[in-house]
Amino acid sequence: MKHIISALVENKPGVLAHVAGMFAARGFNIDSLVVGRTEDPKLSRMTIVVIGDDRIVEQVRKQLARIVPVVKVQDFMDKPVVARDLMLVTIAVPPEKRPELSTLIDMFRGHVVDISPKTLMVEVSGPETKMEAFLDVCKPYGIKGVARTGTIAMPRQGSGEE
C-alpha cells in the first residue's frame, strides 16, 4: 500500500541525512522524497511516499517522529488530500508531428517549455497516475529524458484536518 507521509522538520543542516539514514538503517523503502521550504522559514516540509503494510508504515511514522528535529508527522492515507507530481519530459519529435503531439499535451494540460529542431520539452503536473499515462502516450515518439519531483501533498480544507 502506498502511503503519503508529510513531515514538518526544522530547517537545519543534517536533517535530510538523518531522515534518509533512518530509512536506510531500518530497511524501509522510500518511493519518493521531496523537501521544500514552507511559510515558516524555520521549517521545511518533507513529503515521503512509502510503500508498505500498515505495520511498517506505522513504524515509519513513529521512527520519523522520534527524530529530534522532526516537528510533526502525518500519514495522509485515507485522508482527503491533493497530491501532485511535477514532471519535465523531453520528447523526440520531428516538426511535422508537432501538431499531433500538442493535441496530446493539451489533453494533459501540459506546457511546452523548450523547443529544438528535433525535440520538445514538456512540463506536466498532476497526480502520479497522470504522469504515467502521459509517458505512455509519448513513448511511441521516443522519450529522450524524464525528470520528476516526486509527490507533494496537502490535506484538503474542510476535511476536518488542519
Binding site: A17, H18, A25, Q59, K62, A65, R66, V68, P69, V70
Partner: protein, 574 residues
Amino acid sequence: MPAKPETPASAAETMKSGAQIVVDTLIDLGVDTMFGYVGGVVLPLFDKLYDAPIRFIIPRHEQGGCHMADAYARASGKTGVILATSGPGACNLVTGLATAMMDSIPMVALTGQVRTDLIGNDAFQEADTTGITRPVTKYNSIVKDVRQLERTVREAFHIASTGRPGPVLVDLPVDVLVNKCPCNGKAELDLPGYRLRTKGHARQISMAAEAINKAEKPVLYVGGGVIIANAAEELRALAEKAHVPVTMTLLGLGSYDQRKPESLDMLGMHGSAYANYAVQESDLLIAVGARFDDRVTGKIPTFAPHAKIVHIDIDPASISKNVHVDIPVVGDAKHILTELTKEVEYRPREAWFQKIAEWKKKYPFRYDGKSANIKPQYIIEEVCRQTNNEAIIATGVGQHQMWSAQFYKFLRPRQFISSGGLGTMGFGLPAAIGAQIAKPDATVIDFDGDHSFNMTMTELATAVQHELPIKVCIFNNGYMGMVRQWQELFYGHRYSCSYLKNPNYAEVARALGAVGITVDKNADVPQAVAQMLAEKRPCVADFHVEPEENVWPMVPAGKSLSEMDGLTILESMA
C-alpha cells in the same frame, strides 16, 4: 606534575571564548566528572578544563573512555560526559556510542573538529563526525557559530537525559572554541520537534489494571527502562500488591530483588527455565521498559502464545515494533506504575504460583559442583556470597556475562552493568572503572572473559593511575567461550578461530602496577576471592576455569522460548 602557570588575565570579561562557554555550561549543568582524551583541536577546551572544578579521567583509548562515561551514567543515574579530539578520536567513540545507544544510556560526547573553513577539505585529522555518528546517537549536531554554542550544549544534556535517554554528540570546530561572544549563561532550549510524554493515558492504565485483575497467570516482564526511570520501588509495590511474578531482561536485572519469591530471575535465550515456561504459559504479559528483543522473545510467532500483552514504555516506536501489543501505555514507568498500583487488586493466584514453584524446584540454575576444574559459576556464587549480594558487577560479553546474570543475585538497580543490546566485548574493564568513579565506596567487580578483557585491558593502567580498587575476575578458558559453544553445538565442534594464546594476566597486572593473582585450583577459590576483595589497589584474579563449560539452558536462535536445550544436562547435575 609540573607547576601550573597562571591563567593569562583576560581583557574582555563579558566576552567568553567558545571553550570557556563549554566549560562554564558544563559546570552550570552540574558536571563534576568527565572522561576524555586530548588532541590538537580540543586544546582550547583542555586549557580551560585545567582550572575547572571537574574531575577529568584520561583513558588509554577513547573507546575505553566512552565506556567509562557510559558506566558512570549507568551506576550513578547522571549523564556521562566524554570528550575526544577530531578524526581518530571521534571515530574511536563509535563503538561506545553505539553501546550506549542500544541500552538507552544518557551520555554527552563532545568532539573536536577542524576549523570551519577547512571542513570538507580532507584536512589533517578531519572526519565527518556527525555523519559517522548519526545512526549511533539519539541526536548530534555541529556548532558552526560560537553564539549557538551554549544553547547547543544545554540541548545536548536535555535530550540525552530525558524521554528514552541516549547519547548525544556535539561537534566543536576549533575556531568556534577560540572565537568569543557575549555569554550570559542563560541560553534557552529551542527544540520544537522534541516533545516528552511523561504521564500515561489514564484510560489505558485502567485497561491494564483491569487486565491484571482478571488475569490468572500474569507475568511482569521488566527491562532496563525501569532502572532508567528510577521506578524499582514502584515496580515492587505493583508486583506485591497485585501479586504477580517478575522476570527481568539482562538490563532489567537489579530492578527487582532476586531473593524475593516473586522473582523469576532472567528470561530469554539463557534465562531461567521457570521464567521462560512462565512467559509461555502466561495469560497476561506486562512488559515494562522492555523492548521485546530477539534474545528475549525467541521465535516471535510462538512467543507468549496465550498472553494478552500490556506494554508500558516511554518510546512510542517500541510499541508493537516486534510483537503486537494489546494495551499500550506510553509514558514514564515511574508515573504509570504508581497509577497502575492504585487500581490493581490482590489476587492469591495459588495455582499459578504453585506451578512456578514446581518449575523453580525442577529447573534451578545449576552446574557440576563435583568437577575437578574450577567452574566459572562457582566463582560467581562465591563472590556473591562474600559480597553479600552488594557488589556492583560489570561484565564483558559472552558466556561469563550470562553466568554473571544467572548466578549473581542482585538486590537493587544500578548493580549490574553490562552491554546488552550491542553486546560489546571489552566493555567490562572500562565499565568497572566508570562505575567505581561514580561510586567510590562500592565494591566494583568486573566479571570478564579472557578475550573480552584482552580487548580493553590497557585501561588497567587508568585504574592504577586513579587508584581505583576495582577487582577483575577473569574466567580464563582460552576460548571465546560463547563462540566456541555455538561451534560445538551448531558447527560440529569445529573451533574455527575461537582460541587464542593468552598472556600471564597476573604478570601483566603487576607490570601495570596492579595486583595479580593466578588461581587454578578449586580449593583456592574462596581464599583468592577474599584476597581480591580485601585489596585496596586494582586487582586482577586470573581464574583458570573449565575450558569447555557451556551456558545452560539455551534457547537456540529462532526457536521458541519453551524449546530450551540443556535441561536434561542440568537435571543430571542435581
